[in-house]
Symmetry: C2
Subunit: 610 residues, 2 copies
């Protein structure tokens, strides 16, 4: 039954040959890879303004400067990553680049940083997708958490367990709907401004307090939060093999397109927020305020809110395209449990998908789906992995030394330095707001990766067959000990099996009083099964301890190549509650004896009919 439920939810098992390396046209690849950065328009500009409008220091006027800085940073990161795509046409992100060029620790640092950030991508995107729809329908605000968890487990996890082919088709619409909606909003907003004869940015939006240290800290925090808009820019360069040929060229073009659209949308929305002097309102996002100010509560307003919600949920899906393959790479390199690298029924990395869903759910639950708090943890990991990847690229160009490598190395070097500075800014500006947690988690993850790796190496060394391994010693025999609780059919059946596997068999009965000892001896003699019975008298009424001592005695007397097999007669009851009515000595013995060399514990089951 659980099996047919599984089939209903995720579909029939797929044959190995059904794995197709789908080749995506640019317009489709764009919708899959760019939902993450583009959707950050849903919260990025808002986060900047949010921090700059804290009551005790109106620093609203610095917002445009922060925005400009972010756009410049985006330019540098975009150019750097088109070079990553070129140098790694086989795909694989910061982890692969770092492993190839910088060594294990850098690679694991990138992996840990990405691990944290993919999970936060899911948490942040789902939370703010729900914010978008709650803004349109305030009545939903009580169901925020249920909605978040339903989207996470009921939609994203299931779709991804079914497999990536379905997901790519279902997800083309929201991205373009969102781009259309936001561009319409920006165009319409600017048209209003130009037709109403007001200046595009009114003077009041540009007024600003003189910059002191407190204010600088605030501006840096706004910048750090705004950087969350840039997460996901690297996704295209990780997925080069999924493009139609010429893969690298197409991937680069798509990156340029994506960044251009992002710049237009980001600057347009930020300008309009400043122009309209929006301030934070509880349960209503600024994008919703802006759409309402521009279109009223028209169908266009609802279209924008729905599209925002969908594209944000889709952005969460990006992490599902990113983390499970990364985990499978880590698992193949033995830094994570091996089963994360196995493809399931549907050819997906199902264990990684489930792991990601569970950890994201933990984050959403702890932070009660509060986007602002989650964003405080966000972006640090991404920029750390940016820095590592760019640094790796510098090493790469230097080593290859192909023609024209110097400007390339310089561009990636610039990228590394700039993103490195951003990492420091984010660390300082957000330290108290949550970055400390990430700075704690990343080293712990690296430690975990290394411990797991060491364990697998230990196992490999211990399990490897030396070339001169003698396949088996002809010496030695098998001594069978059958603990019995009386003279029953179960015992008869067990002795029958015992005779098949050995000629040295002994039955053992532990008597807790003399009466029962006498009785069983008599019964055994009259039955006479051809096997010797040893009765152990246990005046303290313990059963396992005397048996255990007996086994140890046999162990001491046996030859070095002899095995001891403990055959436990056990009947399997028909109803689960029947188990409560019987002793579980077999289970106990197995647990106690599992660590002894050359001792094998076997339960010989006897099936009861009723």
């Amino acid at each position: 039954m659980s099996n047919s439920l599984k089939r209903l939810l995720i579909g029939r098992p797929l044959h190995n040959e059904e794995m197709v390396r789908e080749k995506l046209p640019k317009w489709k690849a764009m919708s899959i890879f760019s939902s993450d950065p583009l959707s950050s328009i849903g919260y990025g500009p808002e986060q900047i303004v949010l921090i700059l409008t804290v009551p005790w220091a109106i620093a609203y006027g610095y917002a445009w400067m922060v925005a400009v800085a972010i756009i410049a940073l985006l330019g540098i990161v975009t150019l750097s990553y088109t070079q990553v795509a070129q140098a790694n046409p086989g795909g694989g992100g910061s982890y692969s680049v770092a492993k190839k060029n910088l060594g294990e620790t850098a690679a694991l640092t990138a992996a840990a940083a990405l691990f944290v950030d993919y999970i936060l991508t899911v948490a942040v995107s789902i939370s703010s997708g729900t914010d978008a729809i709650v803004s349109a329908f305030p009545v939903l605000s009580d169901y925020r958490m249920s909605l978040n968890l339903f989207v996470l487990f009921g939609i994203l996890m299931l779709i991804n367990l079914r497999g990536v082919r379905e997901s790519s088709n279902a997800f083309v619409f929201p991205t373009y709907a969102f781009i259309f909606g936001i561009l319409a909003l920006v165009a319409s907003g600017f048209y209003h401004i130009s037709s109403s004869n007001s200046v595009i940015i009114p003077q009041t939006s540009l007024e600003r307090q003189p910059l002191d240290w407190t204010l600088l800290y605030l501006v840096l925090r706004a910048f750090a939060s705004g950087c969350s808009s840039m997460t996901g820019v690297e996704a295209i360069s990780n997925g080069v093999p999924m493009f139609k040929p010429p893969e690298v060229r197409n991937a680069q073009l798509t990156t340029y397109w994506m960044s251009s659209i992002l710049v237009v949308m980001f600057s347009g929305i930020t300008l309009l927020i400043l122009h309209n002097h929006l301030v934070p309102v509880k349960n209503v996002t600024m994008l919703s305020q802006l759409a309402e100010a521009t279109f009223g509560r028209s169908s266009m307003y609802y279209f924008i809110q729905f599209a925002t919600m969908l594209v944000l949920y889709l952005a969460a899906n990006t992490a599902y395209n990113g983390l499970p393959p990364l985990l499978s790479l880590l698992a193949r390199d033995r830094y994570m449990p091996r089963y994360l690298s196995a493809r399931g029924d549907r050819l997906t990395f199902h264990n990684g998908i489930i792991l990601l869903s569970i950890i994201a759910a933990v984050f959403i639950t702890i932070f009660h789906g509060n986007t602002e708090h989650l964003i405080s943890l966000y972006a640090l990991g991404v920029f750390l992995s940016f820095t590592i990847a760019q640094a790796g690229m510098v090493v790469h160009w230097r080593r290859e030394k192909k023609t024209g490598w110097v400007p390339r190395a310089f561009l990636n070097g610039l990228g590394a330095v700039v993103t490195g500075i951003v990492v420091v800014i984010i660390m300082v500006a957000k330290f108290l707001y949550g970055a400390w947690l990430i700075l704690l988690v990343i080293p712990l993850l690296i430690y975990m990766f290394k411990r797991i790796n060491r364990h697998y190496e230990d196992i490999r060394a211990q399990l490897a067959l030396p070339p001169d391994q003698i396949t088996s010693s002809a010496e030695g025999s098998n001594i069978v000990i059958v603990p019995v609780a009386g003279v029953t059919r179960v015992v008869a059946s067990t002795l029958n099996y015992a005779k098949k596997i050995s000629e040295r068999i002994v039955a053992v009965f532990v008597a807790t009083d003399e009466e029962s000892a006498r009785k069983v001896k008599e019964k055994w003699q009259s039955w006479n099964p051809g096997v010797r019975l040893i009765v152990l008298y246990s005046p303290h009424r313990a059963v396992t301890a005397p048996l255990f001592r007996f086994i140890e005695k046999v162990e001491r007397k046996k030859g070095p190549d002899d095995y001891i097999t403990i055959l436990i007669p056990e009947f399997e009851t028909k109803e689960w509650w029947h188990r409560l009515l019987h002793n579980q000595t077999g289970f106990l013995l197995r647990t106690l004896l599992v660590f002894r060399k050359n001792v094998v514990v076997t339960v010989v089951p006897y099936r009861l009919e009723k």
Copy 2:
């Protein structure tokens, strides 16, 4: 480590020969057996007055009539039970009497009724013991529940797991202290009254409304609650063998003594409550009010509260002397799981003791230690078992027909009729207040007893060896299937064992892709362990399903006397978390294959050193 903790808490294991059937002198037996009925002075009179002082109908004046009825009832029950002691010198209460004289269903009804009431004895006594100490120290009222559960698990359960010998000595003091305290309270109260020239019962206490149906119902409820004072009267007749010879005579004398003391204490306290016109006060018991009115907050007051607390906790202990042996009788008759009849390390019925503690804890927790609510459930079971026992005695006397049997049978008959009427009164008066629950639980318990019995009978029939049982067939061999995951030392060690137990061995490898199939085949050939390897290709990447189908194929081809042994190579990791890094295919296979006839699953453990 868990073992030394156990030793520290309950002591060293005891040898069978250390079981002494202790013979108790009357004064000591009294302290053990009578704490239950005597301690009910702590709540019994209060419960009567509590019900008769509900705001909308002051029926205070009926209290003394209720008290007189209870005293009369006590007289009848006492006399009836001295006869039970005489007829059953071997001990054993209502269950044994009913089984011998009335048959299975009556016996199980008595057992179910006692089961419920022993548990309620623990819950009620602990709760009102805590009430007594909370009355003296109101600051403890917030810790009521913690106190209840600590007394239950930390004191009663542990002491009883250690064994009854220790308990009997520790528990002599509280009973006599309590008797002394209450008698002093009564004497002092009466001295006050006589010296202050007031009439013993002032007229106002005797005024009463005319009796209508509502009031009658109230009076009956008061009577039903007051009957809780009588629980435990039967304890002595269950424990006749524990008395010094002449056992029966001594048990009877002790019963008379106990009842006399109970009558004096019960009537004295009830009269004083009426005389002082006490009404219920939150968090203060009436006994505490009375002691305070009589002695002030003197050391005598605190002595009485402490003694009351101790004797009530001791009364809870009575259930530990009663229920585990009853459960062991039921288990020996196969109405309860067999292990309830086994004596543990310390010669106690440890499983019954733990079971009683857990169920009592559930009741205390559900009712938040509210004595009044718990008492609503109480007494019904006891009187039901009284009735059954007395009815059984009538049958007993009729059958024996010894000289003078007619008056004896008449006395027990009277007891049966009177307690039967009380059962009906309790049922009606308390139905809505909780008796419905007990009326539901008792039949359910009886059903459970019978189901368990049927299961054991089924098992016995299925396990019994027919006299002509052929001990074992010489025919048939053992086919060994070794599922392997590669070529490792674990596999080598498993094959080594396989060769000890059979000559028909086959290794099976499930390949999820063609690459790994080829690799393993090559490795196997170059290793050449002398066992054939079959590679199953599983294009859907499932591992257990193809293996399972293979086993089924072998099963169809094997002879009827052949066994199939699945040997699973498994390495045992050293740290618990290492397990998370490996598949648990062995466990899965064992679970799936346990029900197949002549298929045995064996895990051959290989121990890792690090």
